[in-house]
Symmetry: C2
């Protein structure tokens, strides 16, 4: 039998861009649209052409790209009261955006009609009808967003239903029910959406916000109740607590509820990639605990779990991580038994016994370092260096005799002595200067380091104390183009901690390349 | 009529401590328990006494404190197969913990019984019955956690029901249904929990994991279906994607579903405080988008929203933020119209017209700085300094002529010339050294700076590029004991960016104290 399908409308570029501390450049918006098209969403809401010039530019620019799957939609409001649609600025700006689809929002909540719009309930229905009709007459496909729908329903269910049917009869292809202030709970969404679905011919959609932490559940409940169109954003970014996270909704609809979702049949495999790319574009750190795609989503820490996962993955993994482009990780940490260590070393091609005394000692050292502020979950390779030393698989290749940094307004200069070489180098900031000097020392003996690049650099204050006198933990991510690894340094000085992490990172690469195959999971 | 009440069991110290990159010291655990008791939860699951010495220490240490509301519970598994309860290590370790309550977990899923426990279905029921009975005989209140309950139900509903009734008949006070691998969706939880509730006399609880992003919704659906006991963690920390977040569940149960929750009637007001304290103890940055308590949960950015919120708060706020100890924020940002600025300045006692030319210019400057890597959502006070300058309310009080840092292995020394004074100071790290020297210069003219402390210091790489050559954004949070404010610096050098943020932070305090009352919302 043919699977029912759900339309996905992504509003990352419109509602998502209203998130605090997020701001997309035109280039960011184009990149995002292309990623979304490749993922295979049905609609990309590109922005609110009336609201700011950048959004208008986007609609012009995106025409230079031929999208494979998605239609671009312009967002705007119904006409103002007391004027004709053709005189309305908002509706005109939608026409100017020159898209084949428009997302039009209108009022549903009687209180909002009276207090914000300041008109009669009848006039509001006329406004909705006119505005939808006007865009249809210009050959534009209309998705009507019923603003404050669930709040409106609670105060006047018959009026809320009238709004849905008015938009439908005026020619809206979809009527999306919006929980604009995000205050509705899943069981309410189920009941209310069902009530409407049983009383309208309109194709229903849902637009949820996360103010009670239920945006994902509310979207799914809407679908259970009969909605066949879901609006949301990548990673759930958006105003206040954010919108419904499509990254979490799509796999549940597809893998667990049996719907057909995404126009690209291979889109699901790219879920983590798209999520990561959007974090980069938004300039915010990925949430490691994010369902499905987070770095910790399939990470097993507790010894007992790590053991059980080896016996039967279904016990602690609800899906196979590779389906959505994620992967299993077993972390080395305080709670982990030697089972985790054995599993890690196994990947390095080192076969060891769980009972092995040296392993217990390595674990002890790791625990002591964690007490000092290290967090090896974030930088397992620094822990592996500890293990390799304990096990006697380690050979000292980088012996830093000393480092000096001169950091004067503007100029950052570093001198380092490593092994027998002394090198000086400038840099943008002291850490970069040391990095440059360090590489000058090493690259002659270890040309393979040419291919090693830094891909991330983070400074955090571990534990409770948060002031510049406490220790900082620096985590650096490296790549050689094929593999990625992370190392850490902990010190009272940001520079010193950075240097410890730098040296570990280069050292790890050299140790592995000498004797061991790179970690597969990192 | 008397409100029905829901029991809350917090497992932050047990399941929560299994989160990747989280590790609690004994002192952290005691502090957490006291916070939870003050919040008013019914049970605090303190740990797994069998699993590691730290947990055992906790149960001893916590006896020195008299808790007002919560009972301490020890966690452990049912007895191993083929032995008597009194011979079982796990059950003995629960007795050794000497608590009045035990949370005992047992197998529900036939596949798990066969493959992991490797015994018969009948024997598993016997194991459960024995183990519960054994603890009851020692006068211990037993909460039975049915592991993998929802997975088990899907494969053999009758056996899953038998497990519930077996634990109940053996004397368990609560039987908590666990979604151990977090793969169950809200509508499934509703149906399955209802099925059980209609067929057992046991008091039901729920224990949810967040692998599909539905842990909060699943907990609420369990309650809708009849559960009266909810297990979760503060901020949802836990293995993989985490556990159900009590910080999000409690207010929905209390404010939206009308249940009696928390033994402390004023507990709800402390929700944000408890959430923040746990982030500190766990050493992870708070999630600004967290429902209810996040810094952005009641933050309004888009001009249109900011306007509407002023007209009618219910339009974009599902509850009054003060009820849970949070507050409304209007952010200054790229998307914000001058309405936001006016609102901000209003709080500073500066009455201005929306149309004011100077405001438009200030907004222009702010946008230019944001394009360079500033994010004033994170540090509104740096933006306010820009505004005050444009409006002519600014008087130069800190004129830094130059700064020099000598940073040699171990020693960090700074010399600064501010206004007419030159001061040198050492510090832990270059930033702290400059901070100390700067204060030595200023405190003579501005003794009020004595009371200003740094409460947070963060370095991030804004935008896409992530390597030590890109610019970094340093955000510093200050407090004078009453108010909190945040300032920013952006530069290629961590030290320079830090100094920019430091100077802004002290400068802001001086400007405000000279002419203006402190911001209320910050």
């Amino acid at each position: 039998m043919v699977k029912k399908s759900i339309e996905i409308l992504d509003t990352t570029l419109r509602d998502g861009s209203q998130a605090a501390s997020i701001s997309f450049t035109l280039r960011d918006k184009i990149k995002t649209a292309i990623l979304l098209d490749e993922l295979g969403v049905d609609y990309i809401e590109g922005g609110w052409p009336g609201s700011n010039p950048k959004d208008y530019e986007f609609f012009k620019e995106i025409k230079n790209y031929s999208l494979k799957n998605a239609k671009i939609a312009a967002f705007g409001s119904t006409r103002r009261k007391g004027i004709k649609p053709e005189e309305d600025v908002s509706l005109k700006s939608i026409l100017d955006a020159d898209t084949s689809v428009a997302v039009l929002f209108g009022k549903t909540w009687t209180l909002h009609v009276k207090e914000v719009l300041r008109t009669t309930l009848e006039d509001n229905l006329q406004i909705i009808s006119d505005s939808v009709q006007f865009l249809r007459d210009h050959g534009i496909e209309v998705i009507f967003d019923a603003e404050h729908f669930y709040q409106g329903f609670k105060e006047d269910k018959e009026y809320a239903l009238k709004v849905v049917n008015t938009a439908y009869e005026a020619g809206a292809k979809v009527v999306a029910l919006a929980d604009t202030n995000g205050g509705t709970l899943p069981h309410e969404v189920l009941e209310i959406t069902r009530y409407i679905a049983e009383r309208t011919k309109a194709k229903l959609g849902v637009h949820m916000h996360n103010d009670t932490g239920n945006a994902v559940a509310n979207s799914l409940m809407g679908v259970v109740a009969g909605a066949r169109h879901v609006q949301g954003t990548i990673n759930g970014i958006g105003e206040r607590t954010g919108n419904a996270d499509l990254i979490q909704i799509i796999p549940s609809l597809l893998l667990k509820m049996g719907f057909k979702v995404l126009r690209n049949p291979d889109g699901l495999k790219r879920l983590k990639e798209v999520s990561s790319a959007l974090y980069e574009l938004a300039g915010i750190h990925p949430n490691p605990y994010q369902p499905y795609v987070g770095d910790n989503a399939f990470t097993h820490k507790a010894g007992v779990h790590a053991d059980a996962v080896m016996k039967n993955t279904r016990a602690y993994e609800h899906i196979d991580p590779s389906i959505i482009g994620n992967q299993r990780k077993i972390v080395i940490s305080e709670l982990s038994g030697t089972a985790n260590l054995v599993n890690y070393l196994d990947r390095l091609g080192l076969k060891l016994e769980k009972k092995e005394e040296k392993l217990k000692r390595a674990l002890q050292t790791i625990k002591e370092l964690e007490a000092k502020g290290y967090s090896f979950d974030l930088a397992p390779e620094s822990a592996l260096l500890v293990v390799l030393k304990e096990l006697g698989y380690y050979e000292k290749l980088i012996d830093m005799k000393y480092w000096k940094v001169i950091n004067e307004n503007g100029l950052a200069l570093a001198v380092v002595k490593v092994n027998s070489r002394i090198e000086a180098a400038e840099g943008d900031g002291p850490v970069n200067a040391v990095d440059n000097a360090l590489r000058r020392c090493l690259v002659k003996d270890f040309p393979e380091l040419e291919s090693v690049k830094l891909t991330d650099y983070r400074v955090v204050l571990p534990g409770e104390i948060k002031n510049t006198e406490s220790v900082v933990r620096v985590t650096i991510e490296f790549t050689d183009g094929k593999n990625t690894w992370r190392t850490e340094g902990v010190s009272q000085s940001v520079i010193e901690a950075s240097i410890m992490a730098l040296v570990d990172g280069l050292d790890y690469y050299l140790q592995i390349n000498k004797k061991l195959k790179p970690l597969l999971t990192i």
